[in-house]
Symmetry: C3
Subunit: 153 residues, 3 copies
């Protein structure tokens, strides 16, 4: 077989702690020459939405009528999030911003979820430029059904 191994990750969370694991695995897999796809859905869309991406903010997210959860770990306060970010910086962990860049440079594909966009009113213009395309569940399943390692985070 000459085929590349493939990793597919559904990114469904917008919190800092659950945004790191998919990027760490994706970047590692891409560096091992795997084909890697991140499918952002539900709260995970916050990671690739311009107005919310890369921001750590406790302010409300009017599009869903719900508090913005980017970087806010459930049950934790904004202070704890700030402390976690400081700790990550002190430990020389890459930031989410640099993980996004590293992933793109390594060839990881970013897919936005069309039903989530419909639900939340997010448009194509709201997506960060690193996003490759907008797909639905059928396209994701087509990719998953072809012997990929598939994780829901």
């Amino acid at each position: 077989m000459n085929e590349k191994k493939r990793l597919l990750i559904v990114c469904s969370k917008g919190t800092l702690d659950m945004a790191f694991p998919p990027f760490m695995m994706a970047t590692t897999a891409a560096s091992m020459d795997w084909e890697v796809h991140l499918y952002f859905t539900f709260w995970g869309m916050d990671i690739i939405t311009n107005s919310k991406a890369l921001k750590i903010s406790p302010v409300g997210n009017p599009s869903l009528g719900l508090p913005n959860v980017v970087g806010i770990i459930p049950g934790m306060t904004a202070v704890a999030t700030w402390m976690m970010k400081r700790k990550m910086r002190e430990s020389h962990m890459p930031t989410l911003e640099s993980l996004i860049e590293m992933a793109k440079q390594a060839g990881v594909k970013f897919h936005a979820c069309s039903p989530t966009m419909k639900l939340s009113g997010i448009t194509k213009e709201d997506l960060i430029p690193q996003c490759d395309d907008i797909i639905g569940a059928a396209t994701f399943l087509d990719m998953a059904g072809d012997d990929a390692v598939t994780l829901f985070i």
Copy 2:
């Protein structure tokens, strides 16, 4: 190979936001002629338990000695859940009730988790009629080990 592709999803959460993704994927996969199984466990059992299913309520769940989490997004208030439901209605998203019906009509199999039933005191009579059977982890693993796409949500 004439074999159908297969999708197995462990549904472990009883919150509205984490109840939608398995049904959306399951219904899509079934419409693509995949064989699809949903294995409801832990809080996910709330989705297929008569007294809790399909209800959005902040009241306590006496069987587990814990607050009922159906439809209550962690860290969100009941008001936010209500706003999310209103938003979904405005966006013409299907309700959880209709997703359950669509999934059944498409041939998706619903499995209740026997250890969770033992833990929480849920009996066969408490399950919604759409539930096909009650299985343990061994049966789930037998299905998963046969080249299925397997997700834990």
Copy 3:
């Protein structure tokens, strides 16, 4: 094929409700003669860290600058956790301590996540003796890429 089936689980949560499912599946799979690996990462590291493992405590976790989440279900109070533990005892459910022992005796491998250790300052000496080794994402992916059933919990 004489090869054993394989189950890989990423354990990313340190709460009581999300610590049980991986151990239940792992122990069941091992009893079916599968090769089973648990990869503890992020909050899941609390399960295999001496000072935190097996403790149900609401006190802060100074290493991450965040509250210790072992046994604290998000959005639940310590009282609810205590009630859940009592209920599990009354239902003759195994404790987390005995699940760890059952898993080890059944041959389940425990892997600690090296990036999480770097982030949180956990050292090899902090790990419970049941932990087999410390690995990174690349080693995990190597195992996953070889036709294993892979779950992220």
